[in-house]
Symmetry: C2
Subunit: 273 residues, 2 copies
């Protein structure tokens, strides 16, 4: 499932090979897929085939499968990626968070059942509940820090007694305390460039997963300006709807998805150069 060298190395290698910071999120929406005249499985495989050389990761979103009772299709597309494109890591976007004995079950689900290379997790319950994920040295643990939604500040930007914001404390804990196995990343929404700069200042070269580039309207230029590491990497730019549903017809949806992915990839490369 995962290369022996670990998730972050696999991710960095895919970024180099494909000259891409783009991650395509796999969020199946049946009402949109219906236009293409294909099954869910056919749609997902077509998207993967059309974009695999344009991306550094794929990110299936758990809720979209769960709402469809489509666990088998989730398993199938992850297996398909591992088989056909073994160099591209799979991030299971499930935002898990529960007490330790239950978190063990969630780690088993993500890493053993589904074979994901990395999983997104929620920090609210504290670092002890992340241990079952963190101790899987060969897998990635991607901790929510500053999420892309409009109301994320209600909790995440609360001011702490020391004058910092809650998301900054999460960034400190994730980078200084929870990252003993060097397998942690953070989520920072592209919709919050100022906070992105603050997180980057705290976490050094830790890679960041950046949702919100596409349909949510995040600013690519600012994201790269404030988020890139000194070597011009350190970011995974995630787009879902804007790539998956770029087309509107059976004959060209895969090609349109590829073009949308390539456009984001190249726009980022141009801005980095």
């Amino acid at each position: 499932m995962t290369s022996p060298t670990g998730f972050l190395e696999k991710l960095a290698a895919a970024q180099r090979t494909n000259a891409s910071l783009l991650c395509v999120g796999l969020d199946p929406q049946p009402e949109k897929i219906a236009r293409y005249g294909v099954s869910l499985g056919e749609f997902l495989r077509a998207i993967v085939e059309a974009t695999a050389d344009q991306v550094c990761a794929f990110k299936p979103q758990f809720a979209h499968f769960a709402a469809l009772s489509a666990e088998d299709e989730l398993q199938a597309i992850i297996d398909y990626i591992h088989t056909k494109h073994p160099a591209i890591p799979v991030i299971l976007d499930a935002k898990r968070g529960d007490i330790g004995s239950t978190a063990e079950k969630y780690a088993a689900e993500a890493f053993d059942r589904y074979g994901a290379d990395a999983v997104t997790v929620n920090p609210y319950l504290g670092g002890d509940t992340l241990q079952p994920f963190l101790q899987r040295c060969d897998r990635g643990v991607i901790v929510l820090c500053k999420t892309s939604n409009p109301g994320s500040g209600e909790i995440q930007n609360l001011e702490l007694a020391d004058g910092s914001r809650l998301f900054q404390q999460v960034a400190r804990l994730a980078s200084k305390k929870w990252n003993g196995n060097q397998n942690v990343m953070l989520v920072v929404g592209a919709t919050w460039p100022e906070e992105l700069a603050q997180v980057r200042a705290i976490v050094g070269d830790m890679p960041l997963l950046i949702p919100g580039i596409g349909a949510q309207g995040g600013d690519l230029r600012k994201t790269l300006k404030y988020g890139l590491t000194a070597d011009g990497t350190g970011l995974v730019l995630s787009a879902s709807r804007s790539v998956l549903y770029a087309g509107n017809a059976p004959h060209n949806f895969a090609q349109k998805a590829r073009l949308a992915a390539e456009a984001i990839r190249l726009a980022a490369q141009d801005l980095i150069a």
Copy 2:
């Protein structure tokens, strides 16, 4: 699935009918069930039949089913409870939390796919992400506030600029801002009686889900002292492992589970009286 009067009314009615504040958590652990010589489905149905008149709710824990690829069994036991014991509400313990468009999928999963009466959710992403759950007026939304694990203070007890703690702010938001449909509860671990008293002071009569009574060692006396509302209710005391696995043999595991449940129920009733 849910009575037209809503989750909190259904819960209160079950508490009255069974004279019980006890919720039995359904956390299937195959290595323990193996001792009983029954299938997962047989085990769960036996536990439900043995304890249904001792409880005010059942709480299947999502991760334990997901790690076993047992979504069908999760669906089956929820359907079974609704059919055989329609007065007992089902809380799906899944601790969901994601941005709005994805949270809609999680709400569909919990309430429409599985037919749960209530679901547990994580507040870290902010109230806008809870809207897809909150707007389902007939269902319950149970927000993590102060969780039972030893390290919950790392984030939840952070001191804010106004001198309060993060979990207190979550309690304020949940009771003052997110509860427009009167369908919100909070999770407070039995392992934190002092914090329980502080939450009770903030939220008035809002019912609280209290995990940690059994195997985690929470103190029942202090929980009731600090958590009960003036009318001697307002709590849902959740026990899982200490009930489910009280027995060790095929011929008596259901009876032992019943006795363990009855013991907790009666201990609480004695302390209230």
